[in-house]
């Protein structure tokens, strides 16, 4: 047991704690959007902590080498690049399929934006019909 192994173990522990929080958030939050917030995000820090933690932990053992750390960092970077895209795709799909926001939600600027856009298109269409008549 040395300092590097101890730091790695602490990081893995923190990571698993955030995994636990994201699972708890999945149960506690009221609607799909807030569940996305807690579950996908805490999982990011959880995975980061576990991966980088494993890399540092391995440095402190007798079989470890620097390759452990660099590889786990590359994995973490690719995770950081891809995770938000799937989160964005999921939440956008949820909104487009018409899942309502929780009743306690305070504001929905996206609906206003979509309605303004629709209205712009709808107003143009009847005007054209009027011209034809």
């Amino acid at each position: 047991m040395n300092a590097l192994a101890a730091i790695g173990e602490a990081l893995v522990l923190i990571g698993t704690f955030f995994y636990f929080l994201s699972a708890l958030g999945l149960i506690r939050m009221p609607d799909v959007y807030n569940r996305m917030q807690t579950s996908t995000k805490s999982a990011t820090l959880g995975s980061l902590g576990v991966m980088v933690g494993v890399g540092i932990w391995a440095l402190g053992t007798d079989f470890g080498s620097a390759a452990w750390l660099t590889k786990s960092i590359v994995i973490a970077v690719f995770l950081l690049l891809t995770n938000p895209i799937s989160a964005h795709a999921l939440i956008r799909a949820a909104y487009k399929s018409g899942i309502p926001l929780w009743e306690g939600s305070v504001v929905d600027k996206y609906r206003e934006h979509l309605e303004a856009k629709d209205k712009g298109e709808v107003e143009e269409a009847p005007a054209e019909e009027g011209d034809e008549e």
């Binding site: 990011t44 820090l45 660099t70 950081l80 690049l81 989160a87 929780w102 305070v106």
Partner: protein
């Protein structure tokens, strides 16, 4: 910013691929380096057209310095926001105040907008729902200010000052 020359884009792709190779092998053995270089040259020839539009301009020292400074800044923001969300999950009363707000960005570059959207999504408490031109629609777990300016100040501006330089 217009497209850089083909050679500049090709070289930039080779450099990035070779860096990834270095990290994955974590070895300075000449055989490994030579083989990695050959593979980088081949893969870059096939992919540089979709990989980058700016080419070597991305490696301007000022941009690299800001990109390196952005990493700890972003990690810190992410950890703080994670603790904030953790508090909301653990608090018995579940103190959330969610809503979808609109933000405006000053970024013009498409890649910069993508980086900003990803940064926002990775920061817990905010998810980018959609982007339309310079308008970001963001689901925010604790709406402090639902005006466009207030939300922009809270969510996008801390990242923008870095991304403005990194992506031009």
């Amino acid at each position: 910013m217009g497209e850089a020359s083909k050679i500049s884009r090709y070289l930039y792709t080779v450099i990035v691929l070779f860096l990834i190779w270095l990290f994955l092998t974590a070895s300075l053995d000449p055989q490994e380096l030579a083989f990695g270089l050959i593979l980088s040259l081949i893969v870059a020839a096939l992919t540089y057209e979709i990989f980058t539009t700016n080419g070597l301009a991305n490696l301007h020292p000022r941009r690299v310095a800001y990109a390196i400074a952005y990493v700890p800044y972003f990690l810190w923001a992410m950890i703080m926001a994670n603790l904030d969300v953790a508090y909301r999950v653990l608090h018995p009363k579940r103190p959330i105040n969610p809503g979808i707000v609109e933000c405006k960005t000053v970024l013009k570059n498409e890649v910069g907008k993508l980086a900003l959207a990803n940064s926002i999504t990775l920061t817990p408490g905010t998810i980018t729902l959609d982007i339309d031109g310079d308008k970001y629609f963001i689901h925010w777990i604790d709406v402090k200010d639902d005006s466009v300016e207030g939300a922009s100040k809270n969510i996008t501006e801390p990242f923008e000052k870095f991304l403005k330089v990194i992506f031009g």
